[in-house]
Structure formats: structure tokens, C-alpha cells
């Protein structure tokens, strides 16, 4: 369906990535946000708390990030599109209830405007070192979806996409911004509401009594209901059967957890999203995401000026990782180069998928700033040898 115009601030704006993310959430139909202040993410909820009272939305500043994520998981069961916003230290606290949302299959969006870590790290300065935490941070086996915008415009566009993916696959979607994208101000075009596609909450057609909360009938995702509609359903963070009742058995664990994995793994080709430039005939492909993708372009230009055939792959959906495409490219190119603002996270996945068919080189950065394009160029030159 098309977006509800009450949340869409149609026009050409000059916004930072945090504000643009907030506008994206409101355009997507999000009407419940719980959060706790943390630099460099707070502007997202400041924007939302400024505008929500005029569109029937409720923002609550909770006592901590544990509570924020729990409230978001709870509100998801009212049919509302829900979101919380944080940065590294808060993201760590949210892991508990991100696991709950995954297990209950509660659709929601979790924004992490990444700063340097570990621990309190660099509160006001950029990092990209929560990428593995986004995928693996909560305990147990699960799959989810994560996206990385490279600009304020994408912070708007992809926040809507994050909500759509969370509704389609009933998973918490990690919106992995970084401090640079969050705090950079650029032109953001917000289209008319009837030009924005949003996925509404799909509720079951079944009547109370016929409905089982986790019955899938061969589909990847079960049908959902809302609290207060008379279904008297039960859901739990415990391993559960189709009725949502706890079952402590090897068999139930195998069936239910495998389905949580498979709904993403078996449909990864529908979910992955990336952009490619000049891949054809390239010797080296640079893979990057978020702010680093923009810095990478400068490094690639320098390498091309030196006559090296360089392709570029920008990850937009980072989890699930574009495994199929990397395996294909690994058979065609000599090398992959991956700059990221950490000491080697997504590059591990790149290396795994390359499977030894192409070399992989990390261009690390400890955080607090972005790469020098010359370092990226140098890595490309080395890889091309």
C-alpha cells in the first residue's frame, strides 16, 4: 500500500542523517518509538518526539535501553510499527530483547548510529565496529536483517525499507547507520505519500479458535494478530510449538529454531541488496558499506587513474550477506578489498564467501574518523599485483 500522508513531510529538505531516519520512520507508518538518549543517535528521537504528537504517534523516553527494546517488542503486538534508536553501548543492552523479538517474531526496527567502541569508546566519533554484534549479539541461533545507509537520503529511503522488511519477514531489522551519516547534512528529497510503498501489518483472516500463532503451513512466516482482538493468543521467549506454548524438547527446538533460520537463509536472495559499478572486467573489487562506501569511491578513482581495473560493490543490506554474488565474483576477479571502520568484521564474511578463489584484503580503521582514500588506493594496488 502507499504511505499514510500524515507522516510524510513531502518536499526537498536539508537534513542530517539522524533527522532523515526519523522522517523515514514516520513516513513508513511508525507510530510508537521508545528510546533512551545516546550520542550520536539522539537526534532521531528528538525529531520524532517533535512531530509525533501531531500524527497520533507516541514516543516514550524509557529508563534505559533494556526497557526501550522491551517496550518496542511489546508494542509490536498492538499492530503498531515500532522502532528504537541507540548507539553501541545501548545496542549492547538491547541484545536481550532483540533476541525476544526474534523468538516471538515481533516486527520492529532497531537503529544503531555507530560510534567508536569498545565500551564507552568515542561517543561523538564514527565507528563501524558493531556489524558483527548486529548479526550475533544476542545469544542463541537466529537470523535477522541489517541495512547500512551511505547518506541522509538513504537514511530516509532505507528506514522505510527496513520497516517493510521487518513486516514481510517478521524480524527485528537492524538499521546500522554510523556517526558520519547520522550527523552529515545533505539534500533529502521526501516524495509524495502516494509515491512511497509501505508494507502494512498483515493480520490473519482466521477466526479466534482456528488460529495458532506459529502455524506456518509451509510458508516462511506465520500469520500475525494484535493484542485486544479476541484471539487470546500466547507468545513466549521460550522454545514454543505452533500454539505458542513452551515445549522443552529436542524436536521442538529443531523445528522452531530451524524455521527462524530458514525464513531468512532460504529467502536471502530476495532480501540482499547491493549496488555494483564497473564490475565487468575488473581485476579487483572493493566492497564497502555506510560512510566508508563514499570514501572508497575516492580511493577507487585514484587507483583507476593508475590504470588498475577496479570494480565497486556497495552493500546496502549487509545481513544476510550477499553470499551467492560474492561466490560468483570470486571466480571472476583476482582480489577483493574491504575498507571498514573496524579491525576486520564484514571482511571475515567476505573471505568466507570468497572461499580462497580470490584474495581478500582488509583496510582497517580504528574509528574516530574515516579512511584516507590513499590507503584504500594502496590496498587496491597491492591486491592487483
Amino acid at each position: 500500500m502507499k504511505a499514510d500522508p500524515t507522516g510524510v513531510l513531502t518536499g526537498v529538505h536539508y537534513l542530517d542523517g539522524d533527522y532523515a531516519c526519523g522522517e523515514g520512520a514516520m513516513a513508513a507508518g511508525c507510530r510508537f518509538v521508545a528510546g533512551y538518549p545516546i550520542t550520536p543517535s539522539t537526534e532521531v528521537v528528538e525529531r520524532i518526539s517533535q512531530r509525533f504528537p501531531m500524527m497520533g504517534g507516541t514516543f516514550i523516553q524509557m529508563e534505559d535501553e533494556l526497557a526501550s527494546m522491551a517496550a518496542v517488542a511489546g508494542a509490536a503486538w498492538t499492530g503498531s510499527k515500532t522502532m528504537t534508536v541507540t548507539s553501541g553501548p545501548g545496542f549492547s543492552l538491547m541484545m536481550e530483547n532483540i533476541g525476544l523479538a526474534t523468538m516471538m517474531e515481533a516486527p520492529c526496527v532497531v537503529v544503531n548510529v555507530q560510534r567508536g567502541g569498545p565500551s564507552t569508546g568515542l561517543p561523538t566519533m564514527v565507528g563501524q565496529a558493531d556489524m558483527m554484534q548486529a548479526r550475533w549479539g544476542s545469544h542463541g541461533d537466529y537470523e535477522l536483517i541489517a541495512l547500512c545507509p551511505q547518506s541522509p537520503q538513504e537514511a530516509f529511503d532505507l528506514t522505510i525499507e527496513a520497516f517493510n522488511l521487518s513486516e514481510t519477514w517478521r524480524v527485528p531489522v537492524m538499521f546500522m547507520m554510523d556517526e558520519c551519516v547520522g550527523h552529515m547534512t545533505e539534500k533529502v528529497v521526501i516524495p509524495a505519500a502516494d509515491e512511497i510503498d509501505v508494507v502494512p501489518r498483515k493480520l490473519t483472516d482466521k477466526k479466534p479458535g482456528d488460529y495458532k500463532p506459529y502455524e506456518v503451513n509451509g510458508k516462511p512466516v506465520p500469520e500475525m494478530v494484535r493484542a485486544g482482538d479476541g484471539y487470546r493468543f500466547h507468545t513466549t521467549g521460550l522454545t514454543h510449538d505452533e500454539r505458542g506454548y513452551p515445549v522443552m524438547s529436542v524436536e521442538c527446538q529443531s523445528v522452531s529454531v530451524k524455521r527462524l533460520m530458514d525464513k531468512i537463509r532460504l529467502n536471502a536472495d530476495q532480501i540482499v541488496r547491493y549496488e555494483e559499478e564497473e564490475i565487468e572486467g575488473a581485476d579487483v573489487v572493493v566492497v564497502a558499506y555506510g560512510i566508508t562506501a563514499r570514501v572508497t569511491r575516492a580511493g577507487i578513482d585514484m587507483a583507476r587513474a593508475k590504470g588498475i581495473k577496479v570494480g565497486f560493490m556497495r552493500l546496502i543490506v549487509v545481513w544476510p550477506f550477499p553470499e551467492t554474488r560474492i561466490r560468483e565474483l570470486a571466480g571472476q576477479v583476482k582480489a577483493f578489498v574491504m575498507p571498514e571502520i573496524n579491525y576486520g568484521q564484514m571482511v571475515l564474511e567476505l573471505e568466507r564467501c570468497a572461499g580462497g578463489k580470490a584474495t581478500t584484503t582488509l583496510v582497517p580503521h580504528g574509528g574516530g574518523g574515516v579512511h584516507d582514500p590513499a590507503d584504500i588506493c594502496k590496498a587496491i594496488e597491492e591486491a592487483a599485483k
Binding site: P53, G56, L66, G74, T78, G99
Partner: protein, 296 residues
């Protein structure tokens, strides 16, 4: 078997419609007090004529944390300590819901203590029924923030030396608009209090003292659950409106029960609506009671 007992057995239990009978038998130990509190809650729901389709119940983790899973309501079994913020999301996401949190002392005031005090401070619209058995039961009898001084627990084998919470005072001092304490012996009084609380708004807190025969009682040689209920009978004093500062519980000493606070004060949502209406006037669009959901 006599025909009379056959006839009784053939009858449906009066609270069966409120329970998920397909999940019986429950996990609670013989002479545990939680089941009695559930009975009182179900009876109160019945008597208060609440629209059950609009009641959402949330529990955390632990023995009392299993209550939500047995109630035939929209029922949520959340993470340890997070029942209150989860329920906050339910209430704010669909304000017409009657939200109930039913969980234990360790869950709500140990790991969940921060959420408890802030929900009380906000006068968030929810009924919180806390079963206090003075110990972490499900994990094996560890010390709780409610364990009385000198009482033994599996992690205080030489007796507890920490000062426990006075829960009604904690709730009251943080802003709860309804505060009561009963034991699972006080079936009629507890039921009536829950019924009253269901007809109030804001953060309503009911502490219910109940025996843990398997751990608290055994570690402290207090006999069976029945022995503890007899102890409650002999040692609980009813004092409605008591100063909540006087409600500390010492180990196996006399203690006070009753309805302590029942004040009508604006809830979080009342305050929010009033404030935005005053400041924003016609520009304010409140969330619909049915919630802010996007649908075709």
C-alpha cells in the same frame, strides 16, 4: 467413589474458562501459593466484568513468571525483569487495553527494579500483581531483594545479611496510585482488592505473600506451605491505610497487610493528553484508543 464426588469432578472448575486448560497440569509445587493468587485474579476478572478480549497479561521469568502462559487471555511471556516495559509498549501501542503484569519478587524488583520504579513514577496504567515468596524459586532458592534478614537462601547459606525491600513503600514512594499487600491466605480480601484495582487507573501494585515450600521453607525449616499459611494466619495484621514506612518484613515476625493507598491521580496517558492538548491545541492528534496501526 461416591456419586456426590463424581458429580463434583464432572463439573468444570469455576475458573477453567480463564485458564488454558490444555496446559494443565501447571509446573508449581504442591502447596505453592501462586495457584491461589491466580484463582483470586481469575475470580476478580469475573466479578469486575472486565472485557477479557481487551485484557493483555505479561509475565517475566520465574515461577510466577509462568502465570501469563496459563491465562486464557492475550498473554506474553517476556524476558527476565522486562514484563513492565513490555507491558508499557502494549499499553501505549493500544491504549484501550487493560494491561496486567503478573510476576515474582526477584523478576519485578531485582532484575526489573529499575523498570518497576519508573513505571510507578510515571503512574503508567497497569495492574502489577507481585507474588513475593522471598526467594528465587525456579533457579533453586537463591537470595532475593525481598529475602528477610537472617533467612537462609542457597546463596546466603549462613543467613541473609542484606536489607530487603519494603515493596509497598517502594511502590508508594515512587508514585503508585494504588498499593496493597495480602497473603495467599486472604482469598476473599485479595480477590476484592484485585477487583477494586481492576476498576482503577494508573500504576496499581498488589504484593501477595505466598509460600515457597520447596526452597524458602525447606532451607529455613518452616514446614509445608500449609504451615506457612498458618503462620500468615497467626502473624498477619490487617491495617488499611497503614503508613507504608511501617511495612518492613522481618524473618518470621508479625507483618502488616491491607489496602494502603488508593488515590486517583492522572496516569501517564492522562498527563500526556492534557499537556499536548494545552500546548498544541488543535494541532494535537492523540493516538486512537485502538492504536496507531497502519492497515489497508
Amino acid at each position: 467413589m461416591s456419586t456426590e464426588s463424581d458429580a463434583i469432578l464432572a463439573q468444570e472448575h469455576p475458573i477453567a474458562p480463564f485458564l488454558r486448560m490444555d496446559r494443565m497440569p501447571h509446573i508449581w509445587c504442591p502447596t505453592c501459593g501462586i495457584g491461589t493468587v491466580v484463582k483470586c485474579f481469575a475470580t476478580a476478572l469475573d466479578e469486575a466484568k472486565v472485557d477479557l478480549d481487551k485484557v493483555a497479561i505479561t509475565s517475566g521469568i520465574g515461577c510466577t513468571g509462568r502465570v501469563a502462559g496459563y491465562m486464557n487471555l492475550d498473554a506474553f511471556h517476556a524476558t527476565h525483569g522486562r514484563a513492565i516495559p513490555f507491558a508499557t509498549g502494549l499499553k501505549l501501542g493500544r491504549p484501550e487495553l487493560e494491561v496486567v503484569v503478573f510476576s515474582g519478587d526477584g523478576d519485578l524488583t531485582g532484575i526489573g527494579g529499575n523498570h518497576f520504579i519508573h513505571a510507578a513514577r510515571r503512574n503508567m496504567d497497569m495492574l502489577v500483581i507481585l507474588v513475593n515468596n522471598f526467594i528465587y524459586g525456579m533457579t533453586g532458592g537463591q537470595n532475593a531483594p525481598t529475602t528477610p534478614e537472617t533467612a537462609r537462601s542457597s546463596t546466603m547459606p549462613f543467613g541473609n545479611f542484606e536489607r530487603p525491600f519494603n515493596l509497598p513503600h517502594l511502590a508508594a514512594s515512587c508514585g503508585a496510585s494504588f498499593v496493597a499487600r495480602w497473603t495467599c491466605l486472604h482469598i476473599r480480601r485479595l480477590t476484592k482488592t484485585i477487583r477494586t484495582a481492576l476498576n482503577r487507573k494508573g500504576f496499581r501494585f498488589i504484593e501477595v505473600i505466598a509460600p515457597c515450600p520447596t526452597l524458602y521453607s525447606r532451607l529455613n525449616r518452616l514446614g509445608s506451605g500449609l504451615d506457612l499459611v498458618k503462620f500468615y494466619h497467626d502473624n498477619s495484621e490487617i491495617k488499611h491505610g497503614a503508613d507504608t514506612r511501617e511495612l518492613d518484613i522481618a524473618f518470621q515476625d508479625r507483618f502488616i497487610c491491607g489496602n494502603f493507598i488508593d488515590e486517583e491521580r492522572p496516569t501517564f496517558l492522562d498527563m500526556m493528553h492534557a499537556h499536548y492538548t494545552e500546548i498544541l491545541g488543535d494541532r494535537y492528534v492523540p493516538m486512537s484508543p485502538e492504536g496507531g496501526w497502519l492497515h489497508e
